[in-house]
Subunit: 660 residues, 2 copies
C-alpha cells in the first residue's frame, strides 16, 4: 500500500527569498542520526527548491552548519538556531538535538519565516513524549480509525520504508518514545520477549534509535504463565521473580537500547497482581527490579477499575477507582516505574475534569495519557481538533500547594518534587494512505507532538504550523482550515453528551449516540436520567469524588452553584429546570446546543466547500466525505438526544423546534 508524507511533504516554496541558505551544509559529525538529519535536509530542499543541499567539507560562506556544543541549557535534546552573516548554525549537545534543529529549520522554511538574524533556543519541556499504539499482532488496531497496522502483518513485525517515514514524522515533532503494540497483549504479541521476534525488533530498535525514539513494548503481565508455564504470576513468588529476571536478561542482551515496557494490569479482563492479593506497586516493582540493571523503565497504567459493576449500585464510582487504588501507594513504586494516568477519571470523553491524582502523587513518577485516536470524539470521521482541550488540561491548576501548580508544571517536573515525567498519547495512525483517515485528524498527531515538546505553544500556532506544511500556501486556506480546527472540539461537544455527563455512545463501537447504551451496563458509566432530572451525584452526599481534589477545586465542584456548567452533570444530579451559570435551564441548554451543533457542522461544510479550488482534489474530497458523514452523525445525535430528553422530561423546547 502506498502512503503520503503528511506534514513532511515539503511543498515547493514559491517566491521564498531565503533559498540561498539551503545550498550547502557542513558538519564534522558522523553517524546514523546525522545521516538522517542530512538526508532530511536533502529531501526537503530538493522538494522545496528543486535542488538538494550538498554536504561540503568546509564551512560555507552561506549555508548551514551543524555542530555539537556543550551548553547546559540545551540539555539532552535541545538545540539552538542562529543566523549570522549568511550562516545558519544549528547547535546542540547531542546529535538528536541537531536532528530536532533541522526539523525546526525546515518547518520555518515551510512557513516562510525569514532566516536573517534567526536566533532561537528550543528545549523540550517534558522528558518523555510518547505514543501508545494499540496495534495487534494480527494487523488489526483496537480503536483504529485509519486502516490496519503498519507495524504488524501476518503476525510479523514489519520494518520498511514506511516505518522510516513514521520515525521521521515522530522526530519532526519531537516525540521520543513509542509503544508499538496494544496494551491488551494477546496472542503471539506475548512472545515479543522471546527469540521469535528479537530479530525484527532489533531492526526496529536500530531504526528508531537513529531518530531518537525509544522503543517500548506492551507487556503481558501473565507471560510467566503463558510462556513460562508457571502456575502463578504472583509478584512476590520467587519463581515468578526469577523467571522475569532471566527473561529480561535475555531481552536486554538482544535489545540493549529497548526503553522498557508498558503494562495494563488488572483492568478490563487483563491479568495482574490483584489476582494474588497483591497491590499495583507489588506488580510494577517486581518487573521494575528485573529491568533496572539495563536502565529499563516500567510504565504502569492507572486505568484500573471494576468493569463488572452493578448499575443498580450507586455507591461505587468508577471515577474514583484510579485515585483509590494509587493514591495510597504514593512512594511505594521504584525509581524506574512511571505511572501512566489518563487525563480524566472516566475514559477520554470530550469533556472530563482532570484526574485528581495529578498534584496528589508527590513521590511517584508519572505521566499523563491522552488519546488522539478519536475513540469517543468522532473516530476521525468527525473533525475534532483536540489541542485546545489538551491545552485546557495542561493549564489546569491542581492547587497542590506549590508555586507552579498546573498540570503542565507537573508534567515538566517543575512541581511535586519533580516526579512528573511527561505525556503519552494513544496514537491515531494506521496504514491508510494519509496515515490518519481524515486528513484533518493529522493535526492532532502533529499537535500532540508539538505540545508534548512545548506546553506554551498555542492551539492557533500549532494549527498554523501544521496547515502551512500540509496545504498549499494561501491565506484563505490557512484562515479557513484554522477556523475549522479551532471550532471543532466545541462543536463536537455541543452535539454529543451534554454538560460533562459523557458516554451515551453506541456500546462497543463508541461512535454515534445511544443514550441508554451504557446506562444499565456493567461499565460504571451512567447518566441516571429520569423524568425529573439527570446527572451523577459525586458530592459528599453521593460518591464523594469531588472531595478528592485540593481546595478550592473540591469546594467549587462540590457546590452546584459554582460547579462549571460544562462539568455540571458529571458532579451533580440536577432537575431539568436547574438554571445554569449561563442563565439557561439544563433542558433548554440541551436542546439549544444540540440544534447549534448541527448548524455548526453545516457551516463547517460550507467553509470547506469554499476551498474546493484551492486544495488538491484528492485531499479536498477525502475530507469532504468525512464532513458529510459528520453531518449525519451530528443530526442523529441531535435528534436522539433531544427526543430522548423530551420524551423523558415532557418539557417542550421553548423555541418550538422539531423534536421527535
Amino acid at each position: 500500500m502506498s502512503w503520503e508524507q503528511a506534514w513532511l511533504k515539503y511543498q515547493a516554496v514559491k517566491g521564498y527569498l531565503d533559498e540561498a541558505y539551503f545550498k550547502e551544509v557542513y558538519t564534522l559529525e558522523e553517524g546514523k542520526i546525522i545521516e538522517n538529519a542530512l538526508a532530511e535536509l536533502r529531501l526537503a530542499t530538493n522538494k522545496m527548491f528543486g535542488a538538494a543541499i550538498e554536504r561540503v567539507n568546509h564551512l560555507p560562506t552561506k549555508g548551514i552548519h551543524l555542530s555539537l556544543v556543550s551548553k547546559e541549557c540545551l540539555a539532552k535534546e535541545g538545540f539552538q538556531l542562529e543566523e549570522k552573516n549568511g550562516l545558519i548554525a544549528i547547535m546542540a549537545n547531542t546529535q538528536i538535538g541537531l536532528l530536532y534543529g533541522v526539523y525546526e529549520l525546515l518547518r520555518r522554511v515551510a512557513c516562510k519565516n525569514k532566516m536573517a538574524l534567526l536566533s532561537l533556543t528550543r528545549v523540550p519541556d517534558k522528558e518523555l513524549r510518547m505514543l501508545n499504539h494499540w496495534d495487534n499482532i494480527d494487523g488489526s488496531i483496537e480503536r483504529g480509525y485509519s486502516g490496519d497496522s503498519f507495524f504488524f502483518e501476518n503476525k510479523q513485525i514489519v520494518v520498511n520504508e514506511r516505518t522510516r517515514d513514521y520515525a521521521r514524522l515522530l522526530a519532526s515533532v519531537g516525540i521520543n518514545a513509542t509503544v508499538i503494540n496494544n496494551v491488551n497483549v494477546k496472542q503471539e504479541a506475548t512472545e515479543f520477549i522471546t527469540n521469535t521476534y528479537f530479530e525484527s525488533l532489533k531492526k526496529l530498535v536500530e531504526l528508531f534509535d537513529s531518530y531518537g525514539i525509544k522503543l517500548f513494548l506492551s507487556l503481558n503481565y501473565a507471560a510467566c504463565m503463558e510462556l513460562g508455564g508457571l502456575k502463578s504470576a504472583d509478584p512476590l513468588d520467587e519463581t515468578v521473580i526469577a523467571w522475569w529476571h532471566e527473561r529480561m536478561k535475555l531481552v536486554y542482551q538482544e535489545l540493549p537500547t529497548l526503553g522498557g515496557f508498558l503494562v495494563k494490569a488488572d483492568s478490563e479482563g487483563r491479568p495482574g497482581p490483584f489476582t494474588y492479593g497483591r497491590n499495583q506497586a507489588d506488580g510494577a516493582n517486581m518487573l521494575a527490579k528485573a529491568i533496572a540493571p539495563y536502565n529499563g523503565i516500567i510504565i504502569w497504567r492507572c486505568f484500573v477499575y471494576n468493569c463488572q459493576q452493578d448499575w443498580r449500585d450507586r455507591t461505587i464510582d468508577r471515577a474514583r477507582a484510579a485515585y483509590d487504588y494509587f493514591y495510597e501507594l504514593d512512594g511505594a513504586f521504584l525509581d524506574n516505574v512511571i505511572l501512566q494516568i489518563k487525563n480524566g477519571p472516566l475514559d477520554f470523553q470530550v469533556r472530563e475534569p482532570f484526574m485528581p491524582l495529578f498534584g496528589k502523587l508527590k513521590k511517584t513518577n508519572h505521566i499523563m495519557e491522552v488519546q488522539i485516536a478519536q475513540e469517543y470524539t468522532g473516530q476521525q470521521i468527525d473533525l475534532c481538533y483536540l489541542i485546545p482541550w489538551f491545552k485546557e488540561l495542561l493549564d489546569s491548576r491542581t492547587y497542590c500547594g506549590e508555586e507552579n501548580d498546573t498540570i503542565k508544571d507537573l508534567l515538566k517536573g517543575k512541581c511535586c518534587n519533580h516526579f512528573g515525567r511527561g505525556i503519552a498519547a494513544v496514537a491515531n495512525t494506521g496504514n491508510s494512505e494519509n496515515w490518519t483517515g481524515n486528513d484533518l485528524a493529522a493535526a492532532n498527531f502533529y499537535g500532540f507532538g508539538r505540545l508534548a515538546w512545548d506546553s506554551e505553544l498555542t492551539s492557533e500556532e500549532i494549527a498554523k504550523e501544521w496547515i502551512c506544511q500540509t496545504f498549499p500556501d494561501e491565506e484563505e486556506v490557512l484562515d479557513t482550515v484554522s477556523r475549522l480546527l479551532l471550532m471543532s472540539w466545541n462543536t463536537y461537544e455541543k452535539y454529543t453528551a451534554p454538560l460533562g455527563i459523557g458516554f451515551m455512545v453506541t456500546p462497543h463501537y463508541h461512535y454515534g449516540p445511544n443514550i441508554d447504551g451504557y446506562e444499565y451496563s456493567r461499565w460504571g458509566t451512567y447518566h441516571r436520567a429520569d423524568h425529573f432530572g439527570i446527572g451523577v451525584d459525586r458530592t459528599k452526599k453521593g460518591t464523594g469524588y469531588a472531595s478528592l481534589y485540593y481546595p478550592p477545586l473540591s469546594q467549587m465542584y462540590e457546590n452546584v452553584d459554582t460547579c462549571p456548567d460544562e462539568l455540571l452533570l458529571f458532579f451533580h444530579h440536577v432537575s431539568y429546570n436547574h438554571i445554569l451559570q449561563n442563565k439557561n435551564t439544563v433542558i433548554q441548554h440541551i436542546y439549544d446546543t444540540h440544534f447549534e451543533g448541527v448548524k455548526d457542522v453545516e457551516r463547517m461544510i460550507q467553509m470547506w466547500k469554499g476551498l474546493e479550488h484551492k486544495l488538491p482534489s484528492k485531499e479536498f474530497h477525502r475530507v469532504e466525505a468525512c464532513f458529510h458523514k459528520q453531518l449525519d452523525n451530528a443530526k442523529e445525535w441531535c435528534d436522539q438526544i433531544n427526543s430522548y430528553f423530551y420524551r423523558k422530561s415532557a418539557i417542550n423546547d421553548k423555541r418550538g423546534r422539531k423534536i421527535y
Copy 2:
C-alpha cells in the same frame, strides 16, 4: 465430538408387559427405507428390552408385520397400526409410511402404552413439514445456540453417523424436508449448485431419501452474477433466464431428487428482483420455471422489508411490509412456488398477532415459518416451550369467509382453495452433545415435528410424549417437567417486552434487555415510549395495519377497548394509566408481571432442584446451569424494564417494591 440420542435414546422399559410383541418382525418389502425401519426396530428393542428383534421370513404368531397396502385414506405418508391376536400390523401405502408407523409404535412402547387391541390411523395433516437451518459453510450458525454446525466443517459438507442420527430424529417426528444452509447465502455456499459440492450433496440426498426427507438448499439469488459472471440478475433478462435453466439442468442431473430451493431475496441486504425494478413474483417465477421440468420447488420467503428505516418517520410500518409486497401478487406465482410467511409481522417475538397474509392469499401456495431457534425467546438458555404459542397461532381464526378458517385449516390445505401447504421452523440444533444446548429446548424440536404432523395434538400431550422418551420413567419427573414446560412461555413473556410491544433486546445479539436498543435505529421496531405513554398506533389514525385483517379481527384490533391486552401496545399507543381488560393500569401491569416473572423463574429452579436425584446427573446439572443464567436474565429484564418505565413515567409501583 460425541453426541447423545435426544428422544431416541430408547431407555430400558422396566416391567413392561407387552415385550413379547417385539421378538419377531416380518415384511416382504425391501429397500433402504425398510432397512432403516428394521434397523430402528432392532436398535430400539435391543436398548429397551436387551434383545434385538429378529426379522423372520414368515408371518409370526406374535410379532410385527410391516406391509404395503392400498388405502386412499392413508395418502402418501400415513399409516395404520392394528393389533390382532398377538400380531401388530403396520400398514401404509408407501415404505415411508411404514417407517413412520415404526416410530409411532416405538414411541408408544417408550410411553408404556398397551399393545392389545391397538388400532389407530395416522396421516400427517400438512404436506410440507420442514426445518430451515441457518448454518454457514464456515461451520458457524446464524442464531445458533447449541454449538457449531454439524452439516459443515472447514467449508465442506459433512455426511457421517451424526447426519444419520439427525435424519432419524426428523423421521421419528415426521419432518419430511430440510434446508441445511443459511438463507443468507454467502461465501462458498453459493457454490452448492456447482460441481464443487455435488459429490457430497449426493451422499446427503441419498441418506435423507432413505428417511423420507427432501433436501432443499438456500439459494443465492445473485449466483448468476457471482458464479456466472453475468452483469445482472434481472429475472426478465434472457441471459439470466438462460443461465439459470442451464444451471438447474446440471444440478438436477446430479441430484434428481433434490426438493428445490429456499430464497431470501431483497431482504436485509440480500440481492433480489427489486434491484431491477421487478417484483417478487418475477424473481420467484424465473427460478421456478428453470426447475419445473425436474419437479423442483422454489420456496420464496416473504420476510421482505425496508431495513434502512428512519426512526423519526412514523408513517412507515415494517409490520405492513410483507402484506404490502405480497398481497397484491396473489395469483401471480407459478404452481411450483411456495411463499414462506413468518408467523407474525415482525420477527419471531414472544408475542405477535399472526401475519395478515394468512387467509388473504387465495391463489398462491404458502407455508408458515416459525422459529424454534430461540433467537428472541431466551436463546436456549431460558426455558421457553413454544408449542403452546404455536398452538395459539394454528388455532387462530382468519375469518377468511370459509367454514374452516383457522390457520391450521389453511396450512392443511382445507381452506383458501387448498393453497396452504404446511409449516417450516428455523431449527434449534447444533453440534453440541445434546443437540439443543439446553436439554429442555429439545422439546421444541420434538414438538414442532409432532405439531407439524398433527395440529390437533395438545401441548400437554406433546410434552408428555417427549418427557417419556427423554427422561427416566417416574411420575414426579413427568409431572414436574411437564409443568415447567407448560409455564415457561408465559413466564418468559412476563419478564420481557410487555403487552405485545416486542423487541427491547440487546441489538444484534437479541439476548437480554436493552429497552431503547432498537428505538432510534433503522430496523423499524419501535416502542415510542415517552413520559405519557407507550405503544405503536397501528389503527387507521396510525399506520393502518389493523385494517389488513378480515373483520371482526380488524375491528377488534382497531378498538383500544377490545384489543386483547397481550397485543395492546402492538396496536395502540396508550397512556401508562390506561386500564387494561384485566383491570390493571398499563404501568402497574408492567411492574407486576416483571416482578412475577422473576418469581416464576425462582419457582422453576426450585421445581427443577426437586428432581436432582431422579435424573441423570449430567442432564440435571446442564439444565440447572441454564436455569441459573435464566434467573440472572429475568432479574436484569425486570430491573431494567421497571427502572426504565419508572424513570420515564414517574409513576410509583403501588406495591412499593424496589425499582432502581
